[in-house]
């Protein structure tokens, strides 16, 4: 039997046979063994032409170039900061990549100190290992106040929605300022604590029901409810 064995959007666990024969090629999250293509991860089957992919449903964040992330300063070094962005390796923020001009030999902790939380962009990733960040760009800054919640990184696209439709709806509905990092960290700041609580509830609900249909309507009702 050749061809696809499982359909698109079906849930697979590691070792599940997805396709058989040479008509398909293994993409991310899949591998070939002899004639067959198997899943490497717990996730959803996805087809892209001849490529069979598995979109992970769980797991840690894997940095990609161009991602906006929220991180915490874990170490201040000579001419750079180490930033914990929730992936397997620490990211590096060079002192030349900050919006402020910093003199050589200046005390770096004066600008960003331990446990400061920043919004940054990933500029370079080498084999998941060496991750470089920049803070030059619109909206990239140190953040003060508000709260940070963690969601599963693979569910971030759902929280943002198509062209930001979902996140804009939450922003309007609650009046909060929200930044969603691709690494699954969400910063919420509102004028009132109740607004922040409301936004948190909504985002956690999206995370919990991300694979269901008609989610936008559910969230709209939830926001209008009270």
């Amino acid at each position: 039997m050749t061809g696809l064995i499982l359909n698109e959007r079906e849930i697979v666990i590691p070792g599940d046979k997805i396709a058989s024969g040479m008509d398909y090629l293994p993409g991310n999250g899949a591998f070939r063994e002899e004639e067959d293509i198997y899943s490497l991860q717990l996730g959803l089957v996805s087809l892209n032409g001849r490529f069979v992919k598995v979109i992970p449903l769980t797991g840690k964040y894997f940095p990609k170039e161009g991602d906006i992330v929220i991180g915490r300063v874990s170490d201040v070094g000579f001419g750079m900061w180490m930033i914990d962005i929730g992936c397997a390796y620490s990211a590096i923020l060079n002192m030349r990549e900050t919006p402020e001009f910093i003199d050589k030999g200046a005390d770096l902790s004066h600008y960003y100190d331990f446990n400061d939380v920043i919004i940054a962009e990933v500029t370079k990733v080498v084999r998941y290992k060496d991750v470089s960040l920049t803070m030059k760009g619109q909206g990239l800054r140190k953040i003060n106040g508000g709260k940070i919640i963690d969601i599963t990184p693979s569910k971030v696209p759902r929280v943002i929605g198509k062209q930001g439709s979902m996140i804009n709806m939450i922003k309007e509905g609650t009046g909060c300022n929200i930044v969603v990092g691709q690494n699954g960290k969400v910063w919420i700041k509102g004028d009132k604590v109740e607004d922040e609580v409301k936004a948190t509830e909504v985002i956690l609900k999206i995370e919990h029901e991300s694979h269901t249909q008609g989610l936008t309507d559910t969230i709209k009702k939830m926001l209008e409810g009270n």
Binding site: I13, G15, G29, Y38, L40, Q41, G43, T58, K60, A88
Partner: protein, 232 residues
């Protein structure tokens, strides 16, 4: 010394009742519970994350670190808490049983921590631990080529039986216990231990029986992993 009927009335190739649940520990990256009869194993996976102290790091591939532990209340006679000679050995064999299916090359210099706790023991704890750990690893999104399931087989009296309980293990002069772990697809044996007297033919027979048991466990594992996304 013949053993014609099992003490708890099961068939010779019948596994105890099994139950599995994924995602029981919220703060872990992946977690699972596996119950077989009265034996309950919990597994939590953290990582991949940076490994300290640094000299333990391997720049070629990630490190898998397993820790098996029995809760002091898990057995009838209170177990002194903390690592023992036995738990160190089981941690090591668990690590080796799981390492062969995980794609560790992707995460050099990191560690994947697996913590297994037995909260209730009635024989076959290392096998329950491995079955739970495999589910927890999959739940943590770690790339794996295959799933692993484990079951104990043994010789009680003159019969080869599957999934011994404590009563059977202590039958007369003691049974021969053979824990076996296998990959789901390739049926490759990743753990094989033996404690007691058996002939070569009996071992081969035991592995054949274990293959069937592992298939059953794999079905339960698959169901539990898929279940978390099937609510509502």
């Amino acid at each position: 010394m013949s053993y014609n009927k099992r003490l708890d009335g099961r068939k010779f190739d019948e596994v105890r009742k099994m139950h599995a649940k994924v995602g029981i520990i919220k703060r872990a990256d992946g977690s699972a519970m596996f119950q077989i009869g009265d034996t309950i194993a919990l597994a939590a996976v953290y990582g991949p994350r940076e490994l300290h102290p640094k000299f333990l790091q391997n720049p070629e591939r990630g490190v898998l670190r397993c820790n098996y532990d029995m809760a002091s209340f898990s057995v009838t006679e209170r177990k002194k808490p903390g690592p023992t000679r036995r738990s160190t050995e089981i941690s090591l064999v668990t690590e080796k049983a799981l390492a062969s299916v995980i794609d560790l090359d992707l995460f050099p210099n990191t560690v994947i921590d697996v913590f297994i706790v037995i909260t209730q023991a009635n024989a076959g704890t290392r096998c329950a631990g491995i079955s739970a750990a495999a589910m927890a690893l999959a739940h943590a999104g770690i790339p794996m080529k295959d799933m692993v399931a484990a079951i104990s087989v043994g010789k009680v009296g003159d019969k080869i039986v599957i999934d011994l309980d404590k009563e059977e293990e202590d039958f007369e002069e003691g049974a021969t216990d053979i824990p076996v772990a296998m990959t789901a697809r390739g049926k490759e044996v990743t753990l094989l231990q033996l404690d007691g007297d058996v002939t070569k033919d009996e071992v081969m027979e035991a592995i054949k029986v274990a293959k069937k048991g592992c298939d059953e466990i794999h079905k339960i594992q698959t169901k539990a992993l898929k279940e978390i996304y099937k609510n509502e």
